[in-house]
């Protein structure tokens, strides 16, 4: 089966974005495949005005609570709605996709932080935009979005200083008298090298490295905010010895230095983790699973090419992701529809495919929770268990039932659009399938859908019949196993 140009563009937009709206298809179809990849990667040249479209006509809706309004800076469900809105309507799909990748990589959960400092503040440090916050707070997700295709080492420094992270992994309480191991362990196990490349002694040493990486309050009144603060008096200034190289000369020891200069310990350590020979291959593997395929182990050639780019460019993620998206593995026919969609990917693609006029993304929040993925609420610091583990029966039912809710909501729009193509049940089915691309459906499945389209009573083409069958078909297809693959 030869892959057509349109299929290539759709594959690219499913993986590097969240599926394709008609205007996106029209835009990217005008370019070569390579040109489309470049346009997705060089997103800074595209205006980032998507938030200003919220609550305007013609876009998916958000739901504001009565008397309070829409408050994505302080209300977590509104922050979730805003992010879903962006995923549907952004013209920088790869930036949103990489933000999701990093949200999973540096997985930080709202509930723990809210338990410590309250829901309003937790939302603020996770999701506020500096332009809307009186204290200029940039929430964690805004930081990740800003660095979505930035430098990985800089991203590590930013995350080590991130207020939400300092709560989430308890760095704010890491002091010289009693070093705190939580962040120290996870920065190695999950953020960089992976397990098997460090010892328990390394964890203790790393905890001491980050002693004094705490928080303080600045400003007062409405502009008061927490910020990262290197607290020299709480830093352990003695030397720290590791089992792996910290410096390019092979030295494994961070030297004792005066406490006032002790923040350099952490920066040296982050340098070492970014440069560690296990970090590049580990990121390459995660990117393979995210963008290319989850089935088999990534080919060794892919890992060495992508990791090679990572080290050669000194951790430039734009170059790394370009290498991934232009790889032969990405464009291999066998990679098409070979990845299980994450719940948010499924929901956003379904909205883009089925339609959004009159639908509020608020209606996706409870279903997403049932599907196993609430934004800002990863189950733990390891992120979500992607792949086959998304498909418990309860989670799959939640996907099918979201398809039911969305197609019920869109039934009039669907019927209006389908009417010119509904001369017969077979034509109607062909039309609905065309708009909802899936992994190839076996004949038996198409036969069942055809029987459903034909119904038990003769086809009259009445408005009621078209409305019932169009929504019914869209429900069955979006809820089908084939549609769950990207």
């Amino acid at each position: 089966m030869a892959v057509s140009f349109d299929q290539q563009i759709e594959h690219l937009l499913r993986r590097a974005g969240f599926g394709a709206r008609q205007d996106e298809l029209d835009l990217y179809r005008r370019q070569s495949v390579r040109g489309a990849v470049t346009a997705l990667i060089d997103y800074e040249s595209i205006e980032d005005d998507v938030d200003s479209m919220i609550q305007r006509d013609g876009y998916v809706q958000v739901t504001a609570r009565p008397g309070v309004g829409f408050q994505p800076r302080t209300v977590i469900d509104d922050a979730r709605q805003r992010w879903l809105f962006r995923m549907v309507h952004t013209n920088r799909p790869l930036q949103e996709k990489m933000t999701l990748f990093w949200h999973n990589h540096f997985a930080t959960a709202y509930s723990k932080i809210a338990g410590l400092i309250g829901g309003d503040a937790a939302t603020r440090y996770l999701a506020a935009k500096p332009s809307e916050d009186p204290g200029g707070v940039r929430g964690q997700i805004e930081m990740l979005r800003e660095h979505a295709l930035g430098n990985f080492r800089e991203l590590l420094v930013e995350i080590a200083k991130d207020v939400a992270m300092l709560y989430w992994l308890d760095g704010r309480t890491n002091i010289r008298a009693r070093p705190q191991e939580n962040f120290a362990r996870e920065i190695m196990e999950l953020f960089t090298t992976g397990i098997g490349h460090y010892t328990e002694a390394d964890v203790y040493a790393a905890a001491r490295v980050f002693t004094g990486w705490n928080l303080r309050v600045v400003g007062a009144g409405a502009t008061a905010r927490l910020e990262f603060f290197y607290n020299a008096v709480q830093h352990d200034p003695t030397e720290k010895v590791f089992t792996f190289a910290i410096y390019p000369n092979g030295s494994k020891t961070i030297p004792a230095r005066p406490a006032a200069e002790g923040m350099q310990d952490g920066l040296d350590f982050i340098d070492a983790l970014a440069a560690h020979p296990a970090t590049g291959p580990r990121l390459a593997r995660k990117l393979f699973q995210f963008f290319v395929s989850e089935g088999a182990e990534p080919p060794a050639g892919f890992i060495s090419r992508v990791a090679g780019t990572y080290y050669r460019t000194h951790y430039d993620m734009k170059s790394v992701v370009r290498e991934v998206l232009l790889s032969s593995e990405f464009w291999d026919e066998r990679a098409y529809f070979a990845r299980y969609s994450w719940p948010v990917e499924f929901v956003v693609r379904a909205i883009k495919d089925v339609g959004w006029r009159g639908f509020s993304v608020n209606g996706a929040l409870a279903p997403l929770n049932n599907m196993g993925q609430s934004l800002f609420e990863p189950p733990d610091v390891n992120g979500w268990d992607a792949g086959p583990l998304w498909f418990s029966t309860g989670a799959m039912l939640a996907r099918m039932n979201f398809a039911a809710g969305l197609t019920f909501n869109q039934r009039f729009n669907l019927a209006t659009a389908a009417t010119p193509r509904a001369q017969s049940p077979e034509r109607l089915l062909a039309y609905v399938m065309e708009g909802l691309p899936t992994a190839p459906m076996d004949e038996a499945v198409v036969a069942a859908l055809t029987d459903y389209a034909r119904g038990t009573t003769p086809w009259t083409g009445s408005a009621t019949q078209i409305q019932n069958r169009t929504a019914g078909l869209a429900h069955l297809i979006v809820g089908s196993p084939e549609y769950q693959l990207l």
Binding site: D380, D385, P388, T393, G394, G405, L476
Partner: protein, 421 residues
């Protein structure tokens, strides 16, 4: 046939739920597989439960010196006697219901369970306990391997997972264990009403019976849909269960009520899996204050388990039920600078049920930080295990499920002294 219309989404989005009026309580398949037999409930305390706050060695001076702010005063523990090493032990003060069950001889505590060379990683630890394999922990779960040994065809509702995700412990070659977090939300919806909706459900069922050839990735999703369609009506029967006692309004309480409902109404499930989290207490662990982090965890655990135990006892279902708890590791002996505890080693397990031989199994560690102390490891920082956790699994598999633990665990881990069942 009955079609009920209800709002199932917020934000004005509605759909129609399709149910059948008189669901068969028990499928023939479930009946054939002996649903009236025994039930196993496996409870995971997520995050690494601090065994030393749950079962307190309240006369060990080092317990107090190494935990200056988070030790539980000896006067407030619920004393449960001394173990074989003559260490006096007490439950966390909030475990009042569990203390009563212990006094009735229906609760066994197994101290210091673990394995060699554990990494203190949550994620590796969870996988090791799930696969029962400390060296190759990427395969099927031990419960999944048990389900694989049942005579086929296996009832899709043979297992019941109350958490929203699908944990590795339930991964099996032959069964997709349904995750049913809320039985009331476990229903089939359609954009249409009435006869149209019923037709949708019939078509969805027909499609789900399709078996794609040579497409394993797709087949896995088909299996999930098939399991969902095949279990809807029996689960709907559990959704109306309220029980003979009032369950706590926590998520854990709701999960335990659903399990009791499935057992009492005989839907055919043999194995239940339930998760309750929050045990990764690196900071502000506070086991003493009424609203302290660890005290709250113990309250939720105690109240949920006590309601479950009492409800089953009231309905004479206790003798058919065995509940086992586990956690991926215990925590460090000394508290850290954040009034919490970091990842440690040996963990504590509990087993509850009508046929349990209750009491204290195994011996406590001596908490003297001397690096030569043989009951500790990691230079005296962590409690060392004495029972391989697979020995506890082996007892449950052999003695309760009636299967062959050596086949399921890949070796003979039986230990005669673990006579809790």
């Amino acid at each position: 046939m009955k079609v009920t219309r209800r709002q199932f989404l917020e934000g004005g989005v509605a759909a129609f739920t399709v149910t059948f009026a008189a669901p068969a309580v028990l499928s023939d398949l479930a009946r054939a597989q002996g649903s009236s037999g025994r039930h196993l409930v496996v409870l995971y305390l997520g995050g690494g439960n601090d065994a030393l706050s749950m079962l307190v060695p309240y006369q060990d001076q080092f317990y107090f010196s190494r935990r200056p702010t988070i030790a539980i005063p000896s006067g407030s523990v619920l004393q449960v006697g001394t173990d074989a090493s003559r260490v006096a032990l007490g439950f966390h003060p909030r475990l009042t219901g569990l203390k009563e069950i212990f006094d009735q001889g229906k609760l066994a505590v197994i101290q210091r369970t673990g394995y060699e060379n554990q990494t203190r990683s949550h994620f590796q630890g969870i996988d090791v306990w799930a696969t029962a394999n400390p060296t190759n922990f990427s395969g099927m779960g031990w419960i999944g391997r048990y389900l694989d040994l049942l005579p086929s065809p296996v009832d899709p509702l043979v297992g019941w997972n109350t958490s929203g995700d699908s944990p590795r412990v339930l991964l099996s070659r032959t069964v997709s264990v349904p995750s049913i977090r809320d039985p009331r939300a476990y229903a089939f919806a359609s954009p249409n009403a009435g006869a149209e909706a019923a037709v949708s459900r019939a078509v969805a069922t027909r499609i789900s019976s399709h078996v794609p050839i040579d497409r394993p990735q797709l087949s896995l999703v088909y299996e999930s849909v098939r399991a969902a369609m095949g279990t809807l009506d029996r689960v709907a029967n559990v959704a109306t269960y309220t029980g003979t006692v009032s369950y706590p309004t926590t998520g854990f309480g709701a999960a335990m009520r659903a399990i009791a409902g499935a057992i009492v109404r005989g839907v055919g499930s043999k194995v239940f899996y339930v998760t309750t989290g929050g045990y990764d207490t690196h900071a502000n662990q506070n086991p003493n204050g009424p609203n302290g982090t660890y005290a709250t965890l113990m309250a939720a655990l105690n109240d949920g388990l006590t309601a479950f135990y009492t409800d089953l006892r009231n309905q004479s279902a206790l003798d058919d039920t065995l509940l086992m708890t586990f956690s991926e590791f215990g925590r460090r002996i000394s508290e850290n600078g954040s009034a919490g505890t970091d990842h440690g080693a040996a963990a504590l397990m509990m087993v509850i049920g009508g046929r349990v031989n209750g009491g204290l199994y195994g011996t406590s560690a001596n908490l003297n930080p001397d690096p030569g102390n043989p009951t500790l490891e990691n230079g005296g920082a962590d409690v060392r295990y004495t029972f391989d956790f697979r020995s506890v699994y082996a007892r449950v598999i052999d003695g309760w499920l009636g299967a062959d633990s050596a086949a399921i665990l890949g070796g003979d881990f039986r230990r005669g002294e673990l006579s809790f069942i």
